[in-house]
């Protein structure tokens, strides 16, 4: 394991790939080994790309890789696709659109399956980001599908989130209304050569201006968007926005909205520039630090929950489970007391894995 991590830090692709696999398989030694990566991480810019299926995210990522490479940057990509809830298998098809970069040694593309996680990314995603960061990639792009309010975990593991939408998805208001819009730092309307692109841009802008005004206590003005302002769902979410707001401090600005045609690459250089400037801005305003702290809180809590779940499933506890369940069943104990008794019997003990300080 030590050897694997050492090679990974030196930029060995095979070692990085193998380490990611071990992390995906929840290998405890691999997770402990992440300790060795800490001095080599924190440098990379982590960018999330999300949006509905068919928006052209993979094609966009492919063109973004080209742009970043042209600026002399090394790029890592994690492309997340959903696992089948029935078979547990998955078809990971994002890579297909990026295969042009397959033989560039400064580009690393890895597909990940969600493996049961519901938030849009997999459990191992944040660990895989750490691996690519430590292996020396300057930019790490994380691509995932996001269509609703529950696929927002991407915001917790990235510095910047790009929300990609497309014209012609039926009711444009639907796409905009979904909670996922609140997590976008940068908005892209892809396939902008299609009819309706400008309308999507206008609607996005109106929505974002309204969000910005609401988070400063102002009432949004009337006009074509009034219909949306009266929507109770929207008002409710808008009220919560200030907590998740990407606009640092008291400044009121709306996130950039860009048009692209990923297939041809139109608009992508501007997107790359916008991303780089946005990252610099985050750095200067201290917003990046705030986000990373939040991200750490989230990752710590995930880790603790997973650890408790693991300990609860240990064989030595199975008799305790059975006894307590029996007591609840025969009404000698209420379920809440049984739950607390179970919790207190969790065996918190010393390190059960390779000592990371060794």
């Amino acid at each position: 394991m030590k050897e694997l991590v050492r090679r990974c830090i030196e930029g060995d692709v095979r070692a990085a790939a193998r380490l990611i696999t071990l992390l995906e398989n929840q290998d405890r030694d691999a997770y402990a080994a992440l300790y060795r990566l800490k001095d080599h991480s924190g440098r990379a810019q982590i960018i999330g790309i999300t949006g509905p299926p068919g928006a052209g995210k993979s094609t966009l990522v492919d063109k973004l890789i080209t742009q970043f490479r042209a600026r002399g940057l090394k790029v890592g990509v994690l492309a997340v696709d959903p696992s089948s809830p029935f078979s547990g298998g998955a078809i990971l098809g994002d890579r297909l659109r990026m295969q042009g970069h397959a033989t560039d040694p400064a580009v690393f593309i890895r597909s990940l399956a969600t493996r049961g996680s519901l938030g849009g990314i997999s459990k191992a995603t944040h660990a895989a980001i750490r691996v690519l960061d430590a292996a020396g990639y300057d930019i790490v792009l994380v691509e995932t599908v996001g269509v609703g309010q529950s696929e927002i975990d991407i915001v917790r593991v990235t510095d910047i989130v790009v929300l990609v939408s497309v014209p012609g998805l039926g009711d444009d208001i639907q796409v905009i209304k979904a909670g996922i819009m609140e997590i976008g730092d940068i908005f892209v309307v892809n396939k902008a050569d299609r009819d309706g692109a400008d309308r999507v841009v206008r609607e996005l802008r109106a929505m974002l201006e309204m969000q910005a005004q609401l988070s400063h206590g102002q009432t949004p003005l009337g006009g074509p968007d009034t219909l949306v302002a009266r929507d109770p769902d929207f008002m409710h979410h808008a009220g919560l926005v200030s907590g998740l707001s990407h606009a640092g401090g008291e400044e009121s600005f709306i996130p950039p909205i860009l048009k692209t045609v990923a297939e041809t690459g139109a608009g992508v250089p501007e997107l790359a520039d916008t991303l780089i400037h946005h990252f610099e801005r985050l750095l200067q305003t201290g917003e990046l630090e705030r986000k990373r702290r939040e991200s750490i809180h989230y990752q710590l809590s995930q880790f603790v929950f997973d650890e408790i779940a693991h300990l609860l499933s240990l064989p030595e506890l199975s008799k305790v489970w059975d006894d307590l369940a029996q007591q609840v069943f025969s009404r000698t104990l209420d379920i809440y007391s049984a739950g607390m008794a179970l919790f207190h019997s969790i065996p918190i003990q010393g390190a059960t894995h390779e000592d990371p300080h060794a």
Binding site: V13, R14, A17, R18, I20, T21, N25, S83, S84, F86, S87, G88, G89, A90, I91, L92, G93, R95, L96, R97, Q99, A102, T103, F108, I109, R110, S111, A113
Partner: protein
Amino acid sequence: MLVAKPGLDGHDRGAKVIARALRDAGMEVIYTGLRQTPEQIVSAAIQEDVDVVALSILSGAHNHLFPRVVELLKERGADDVLVFGGGVIPEEDIPFLKSKGIAEIFGPGTPTSKTIEFIKANIKRPLH
């Protein structure tokens, strides 16, 4: 596992059928798309850290492309990857391909269950 289409043929229905069957059997399948060079295929196999590479070809260039994939995998230290092929491959070429490290060739019409059984029986790396 990786399902790849080396060479210049443009028909991937077979590859997609096997990809779906493997997904339904619980495997994580990465499909590379059409017209891949052996270098692209091997690069993907390494980055994705796959256990199996399935090569699908209809253009007749298998005698050159398939061994090249095996060769590159070995060069890059990934010789524990199971490699097999399918598509339009004449029977008389199969011994040659096997001598070059291709574990098996499955012709058109092979039931997907047979392919899945083969993978499970021959995978070189321990199953997760």
